[in-house]
Symmetry: D2
Subunit: 140 residues, 4 copies
């Protein structure tokens, strides 16, 4: 994976737990923040304001290498790692300077919403090309 | 996977997001709550009060089938799915009555803590047998 | 304040922080959970499914007496402490058995929603009487 | 209150709830982030790494004027509003550009920790002067 788009973040107090390190669930929030920063960099919003679709998660994974602590400054690199007709998969690398913290992935489906009901639809053609461009990835 | 130990939970308001459903990161918190309920059922605490070791995450995954909404009553089934000398892997199934919501897994390492430093150690022999018993799994 | 309706809760791991105790922001979530349990006990839902209004917060306060730790079993007592034409104020007492943990309050406004816009409206007449009854409070 | 030290923040997705706005509990997290940014600006850390004391909350309040939404860029101004021998009170103003979002306050006690036990102690003399200086407030 190329470095991709890099989102920078500082660990805050309430993200730690009694073990003194960042709670493992927050890495999924860090990944989402990086994903949304990538969307902003691509000139888009993920919340359906400018594109009336939703992006529910299909799967999410993270492999933890080293813990994170309060006040750590971290980098979350995100890139588009796979695309199908109806899903986008992102790859993530979290680092703290030269230290590898862990790697993760998220797959999202594209859906049309009808109230609380959702119906899977094709990913709009230009979304992927805009995301790849913002992540510094070659078009496919 | 056998059903395992079942932890019951109601979705609360602050776990939802602007899409009107539970935020995907909270499923990892639900899995952890089920894991800790299993430890309680096995007569143990995971926070090192009665056993001076820690259990950091090595990896965590979740596959989402259907969304969850405010006030939903859900069941999180947990069982021990794999054990190595220094790790325990748990498998999870989340359901809402007869509806499959998704499946996940978490792998934890056993470590000795020295301040913020951690050193991988062998899983204490009786921890796994107690967890398996509490989950209704046969001894191996 | 009479004891009011009592909601019972166990402190979970991710609610603690590096100081080893429950993060102070989570007390506001505990209060909300108790408020919503009171609504359920009163046969109502707060999310507008059965009553097409919203209840944004006007103010919230908490006074902390003693810290809470992982696995603590706590009681959150809630009652209606004041009502105006367009707001409801709730009072809360958190205890752990005989130990006082703290007291808080929340004031919510009743609003009609028009997309993201909100317009203050009168509290529906029967909402307060149902909540008072569920909290074991005399009608006024 | 003078403007004080200003911390800037963007609302992220998981901070919203099904009402489409930021959950009210997160304003307390925003205030804490601003408090800790003030400590960094004053050359200090609040987690006891460079000063072996803790700062548990005594009370916290927030008055909500207008809701916040996903992607909003907000400013949280913090200043020291009152000091006693053993407590520091902070005042907060949250704005989104020219729009007032709300005001809050937090009072923290200074404590020495002995494991999970805490004992109230005097606020170290230079902590307040450093915080006031970082907030652009005159010494008292």
């Amino acid at each position: 994976m190329s470095a991709g788009f890099v989102y920078t973040r500082r660990v805050v107090f309430y993200e730690t737990d009694l073990a003194g390190v960042v709670h493992f669930s927050n890495y999924f929030r860090y990944m989402e923040e990086a994903e949304h920063a990538l969307w902003r960099a691509a000139g888009m919003r993920i919340d359906g304001v400018d594109l009336d679709v939703g992006w529910p998660r299909v799967s999410a994974t993270f492999d933890y290498k080293r813990p994170l602590q309060y006040e750590d400054e971290i980098q979350i690199a995100v890139s588009v790692s796979a695309v199908t007709r109806r899903t986008i998969q992102y790859a993530f690398q979290i680092t703290r300077g030269d230290t590898a913290i862990g790697v993760g992935s998220m797959t999202t489906a594209c859906v049309a919403r009808d109230g609380v009901a959702m119906r899977s639809i094709d990913v709009p053609a230009d979304v992927v090309s805009k995301l790849r461009a913002a992540a510094g990835q070659a078009a496919e």
